[in-house]
């Protein structure tokens, strides 16, 4: 109580300081931006798993020629992007979003990411081709922090093979509607354990008798269109 007379002064000083920082409408240090990401499934009969869109900092989630991470394996084999989202968030997450449903062939989905201005922001988009063993599409760590308001870019992308599961096309090995089989399995039985461009599916009509796929599940590149625009 002896210092009672001093506290109100200190408290007032602090309040004044805080008010000075937060009260100015003209000196907001955080500029909010909005990035719109739209995806289109260009395939004939490869539904895409709910699309993961992540704005983050740091390194790509995969590299051609390198083994896939366990998180990428979960997306590429089972269409579940939650582990990859968590991995990117932990490494330098800014904001992410995931589709609420698969994207049908010919279908579209769109996302708006609102984030504090960050010149070093990079974008990762990933989705599984569900009538494959471990095929996916997207890009990782695309620099977008320097985009001006109103600016946009468009990409058409090929399909990657995660290199985590043999492309057996066998009954029970793929999660999509062509098979209704298994998604993620931690066993890695691809003859070459490295991310690369997918060679396409063979199918039983083209001589792979053990395949449950047929000609309508074949695809060629590109398989995915991604359009990005900084709308604000």
């Amino acid at each position: 109580m002896t210092r009672n007379g001093k506290w109100p002064l200190a408290a007032l000083a602090m309040l004044g300081l805080l008010a000075g920082c937060g009260g100015s409408d003209h000196d907001d240090p955080v500029e909010m931006r909005t990035l719109r990401v739209s995806v289109t499934n260009l395939t004939a009969n490869q539904p895409l798993s709910p699309v993961l869109v992540s704005l983050h900092r740091g390194e790509p989630a995969w590299r051609a020629g390198a083994p896939a991470s366990a998180a990428l394996e979960r997306l590429a084999e089972g269409g579940d992007g939650s582990a990859l989202a968590a991995e990117l968030a932990a490494a330098g997450g800014i904001v992410d979003a995931s589709g609420s449903a698969p994207v049908a062939p010919g279908g579209r989905d769109s996302f708006e990411l609102r984030f504090p201005a960050a010149d070093d922001a990079v974008l990762t988009v990933a989705t599984m081709l569900v009538n494959t063993n471990d095929g996916f599409s997207g890009f990782s760590a695309l620099p977008v922090g320097g985009l001006d308001a109103g600016a946009g870019r468009s990409f058409v992308l090929g399909a990657w093979d995660a290199g985590t599961e043999d492309n057996a096309e066998a009954a029970g090995s793929m999660p999509g509607p062509a098979d209704g089989g298994e998604g993620f399995n931690p066993v890695r039985d691809d003859p070459r354990e490295a991310v690369r461009i997918h060679a396409g599916v063979v199918g039983r009509q083209d001589g792979l008798a053990s395949s449950v796929l047929d000609s309508k599940h074949r695809f060629d590149n590109p398989v995915l269109r991604v359009e990005i625009e900084r709308v604000r």
Binding site: A64, G163, R196, I197, A199, V202, D206, G207, L208, A209
Partner: protein, 239 residues
Amino acid sequence: MFRKSFGAALAALLLPGMAVAADVEVTVTNLTGGIHFTPLLVAAHPAGTHLFQTGEPASSALQAMAEGGDIAGLEGVVSAAGGQFVADPAGGILAPATASGVAMLSTDAANTHLSVTAMLLPTNDGFVGLDGWEIPTEAGTYTLMLNAYDAGSEANDELMNPGAGGAPGVAGIPGDPSGRAGSGGSGVVASTPNDAEPNVVHIHRGQLGDTDAAGGISDLDSRSHRWLNPVARVTVVVQ
């Protein structure tokens, strides 16, 4: 005042085409899952030089590369044009889903364009190629995706002919580093004449293969020896 403006306009006209020497680092990544690249040729040369051109018949030098992986003839083409090259930056055959070593080129001012070639194994006359890409004068990192081409010089019978098939004009595939090719196939197309495709360089139609290692129509494996484009990524760092 007039003279100054004129000078600026002249500079603007000259700058885009002005040849400058540059230090260029080139890395090639094999993006396929089951196709090997024979030793790469990475070359800088004048704008008018070509190792191959789509729609044009293969030169004998290109045929030797595309059918047998021999780049000596193409090295001669580059040298005759005053160009510069790095032969075999990967130190031999480049396996699927791997990157070559870095090919360093300190280009002369006249060597403004970049070309890359390597044979695809196992194919009859398939190759990965970059035909005369103008090297940017602005420092930076540039990424290019390359397609698979067919030299149009040999029928794609998809039959193994170990060793011998690499000679220009000899039917068959000279080897398969993946060890997944079979034998005893009847042939996807007749070995001669090569009338199932245009006899000019074109985009490769891809391979068929089958799942019968001891027969069927192809000695190749449909699960290992197919691809979709692009088959390679080239990363170019201009210093």
